[in-house]
Symmetry: C2
Subunit: 169 residues, 2 copies
Amino acid sequence: MARRSAEKLKIVPQPEPALPRDIDFGWLGGTVGLHLRLAQEVAFQAFARRADGADASPWRFAVLFLIDANPGLTQGDLAAAIRRNTSSLTPVLDDLCRSGYVVRERLESDRRAYTLTLTPAGQAAMAELMASAVAHEREIDRLVGRANRAEFMQILKRIIGGLGKDDHR
Amino acid sequence: MARRSAEKLKIVPQPEPALPRDIDFGWLGGTVGLHLRLAQEVAFQAFARRADGADASPWRFAVLFLIDANPGLTQGDLAAAIRRNTSSLTPVLDDLCRSGYVVRERLESDRRAYTLTLTPAGQAAMAELMASAVAHEREIDRLVGRANRAEFMQILKRIIGGLGKDDHR
DNA sequence: TATTGTTATACTCTATAACTATA
DNA sequence: TATAGTTATAGAGTATAACAATA
């Protein structure tokens, strides 16, 4: 039925021209699934906006963070931690190595594996991103509400544990 | 430092060979952002697994659902509802039309726009997917917990409203 | 001129399979 | 034979820009 009529007196160019018309979301509008998706999406975009100066997505930050927190971990361990296939990680690490942020070194005890460590430049980049990440997380926390945070996190963890089939590999 | 030693007595082929080693997630492990992402991801995959027989992703279901609930809505309205660019919707609708699930018709009052409606076959497909979607949502609800559901949804909505910049368009 | 939707195109993210080198 | 990581490749999903038809 797509209302489309009384839109004459637009004086201002209207920054949001395409606000959703009065769509009936019905059952879908009450689902956790849809809202989980939308919330994740806006959070992802908000992070990217905030960390725009540095060249970063949430995953790129996570990779730097995890290498920093676990120097010498292998690519396989890192891939498992962020639940991605190692082949998805290769180009990311290539890029980080090219940028001089990460070094790959063969693991002594298993020369098939690489260990990962941050260079000083990588640590500096991490520190800068960390500031963005903390601010981002603080903004989310404000929306979640201090009193609800712990329970909210627990619920998310239950979903991750309960639905996760450890696919991807 | 990537533990890698006592793995000798593997008798069983070990279905999950690459369980994350004891990685230190530190600050990251306590963030809402990471868990929101992971929860959304497993939920998305769980839906896809469940609706595998029918050919469906959550978005494909949402499109059918919203056309069903709002017969005659335009592509622009639908795109706004799911927060996607109309050009992203075109191939999806092409596909649904080819499958005989959706019909596009020119809107009388504005012949640039298409209105969308489900065919009987489309309604049948929707009904089948609906069963999967309801089961999926029920499983999520079980994990969320009945007592927490309303508040959990409200928090997600606050995040969506608070961080969403209505980008995408 | 502005808007609806399509097309061409490009970019990101992801995985699978085949491969190399180790084990 | 099995594993760690790379490469080649493919697919999904998304957006931007130029365009045609219409307003």
